[in-house]
């Protein structure tokens, strides 16, 4: 128990001192996962909305596909992106492997289906309520999708958060395509995995605490903003 207690103490000191090495890792994690979530929202939300209101062949298949892809194993995504970006791969010429960009790509692929599937659910509920009114006013389906994306913006924050939560917490994909290079591609989750296996529990624990704190505070802020917005707009 003393090792655990000591580890916590050291971990806390690292956090309190805003250790530069720790801060660099946290900052990279946030940047990579935020960029990946942003891309996933820009791509996934319109896809989700069109799946909810659209009528085109293959729609049902796509819905099942996106729902299924929500559970994509990060290591598999990492492996696929690795194959794409490796020197011999189709995108090898860009030299992106083992860079933060590669990590953003992998996480974006991982998170887009989550955002799309959750968006589809939110927009489908809205569509059931708004459908006749929007059609009566002459909205095309793509116009209706855009309107509902804006109208459902507060509910959709949950989809974005779920995506961000998935991105920041995953370790398999960023480990494979980032390579966990110190000072370059080392993020919170890969560091925790590495330091734990090396036996450096304080740093691992410190990062674990920060990771939990980040996820909790982002959720708390989003919850507060959503509550405020819903009271304001109904």
């Amino acid at each position: 128990m003393t090792t655990l207690g000591d580890s916590f103490l050291t971990a806390w000191q690292l956090v309190a001192a805003a250790d530069t090495r720790l801060a660099g890792i946290v900052w990279l994690s946030l940047r990579v996962s935020f960029a990946a979530t942003l891309i996933a929202c820009v791509v996934g939300m319109p896809i989700g909305a069109l799946l909810a209101v659209g009528r085109f062949p293959g729609r049902r298949v796509l819905i099942v596909l996106f729902n299924g892809l929500m559970g994509l194993p990060p290591v598999v995504v990492g492996l696929l992106v690795y194959l794409l970006l490796s020197r011999a791969g189709p995108l090898g010429a860009f030299g992106l492997l083992f860079s933060p960009t590669a990590m953003v790509i992998a996480q974006a692929i991982l998170v887009t289906p989550i955002v799309a599937a959750l968006t589809r659910q939110v927009i489908a509920d809205e569509w059931a309520e708004y459908r006749e009114q929007l059609r009566s006013l002459g909205a095309s389906r793509s116009r209706a999708a855009a309107t509902l994306l804006w109208d459902g913006r507060f509910s959709l924050s949950t989809a974005a958060l779920a995506g961000f939560g998935r991105a920041i917490a995953e370790v398999g994909a960023v480990m494979i395509v980032g390579g966990n290079i110190d000072g370059v591609t080392r993020v919170m989750t890969t560091t925790i995995a590495l330091e734990t296996s090396k036996g450096d529990l304080p740093l691992a624990l410190a990062l674990g605490l920060v990771l939990i704190a980040v996820v909790l505070s982002i959720n708390a802020v989003a919850y507060a903003v959503r509550g405020w917005a819903e009271r304001k707009w109904g």
């Binding site: 708004y130 006749e132 009566s136 002459g138 309107t147």
Partner: protein
Amino acid sequence: MTVWLAIDGLGLIEGGTTIIDSATLTLSAQRNVVLGPNGAGKSTLLRLIHGLLHPSGGRIAWPTSLSQAMVFQRPVMLRTTVLANVEYGLKLKGYATAERRRRAGESLARVGLEHIAARPARLLSGGEQQRVALARAWALEPELLILDEPTASLDPASSREVERIIDEIAASGTRILMTTHNLGQAKRIAEEIVFIDRGRIVEQTAVEPFFTLPQTEAAQRFLQEETP
């Protein structure tokens, strides 16, 4: 009076159930109210005419094409201001921003809500929301306004206000086609009554003879049951 809508043998079958049964009807009066028992198919008929549902058979013919708007029993408000809700319909019709704002403002003034133009629409009372929905429809200056039980979920005061607005819209020359459960309202608004029962159009009569001496037994029974 010239005929503005001719429906011939219109039918709607959904999941083996006949909802509208070969309806044949011509409308030429300016103010038309569709009456009938619950589940008779009143709302469905309106939705078929408005184009929200596709008929299983028959045809709907418009001698001259009329611009339409529809107001529903429960108003659907977007999560934005009252003014932006009214502007939304105009935006879809392609009006430029300044023109849109002007028309939406005027329309809100006509329903007596210009003072709450900046308020979030979803937080208004049901009666106010229905007036916003009427303003949204009116701003489009439709040649035909379809209303599906517009006062069914409103209190008496709000109902009267909505009725006053419908009356004004009609007075501006717009054709009215509406359903209601309120017989007093039907009497006040309608020139002509279309009576529908179990998906069939049973009777079409001018408003006074309908309420004094309906031609069909079904309509007589309906009036007896509905009159307190």
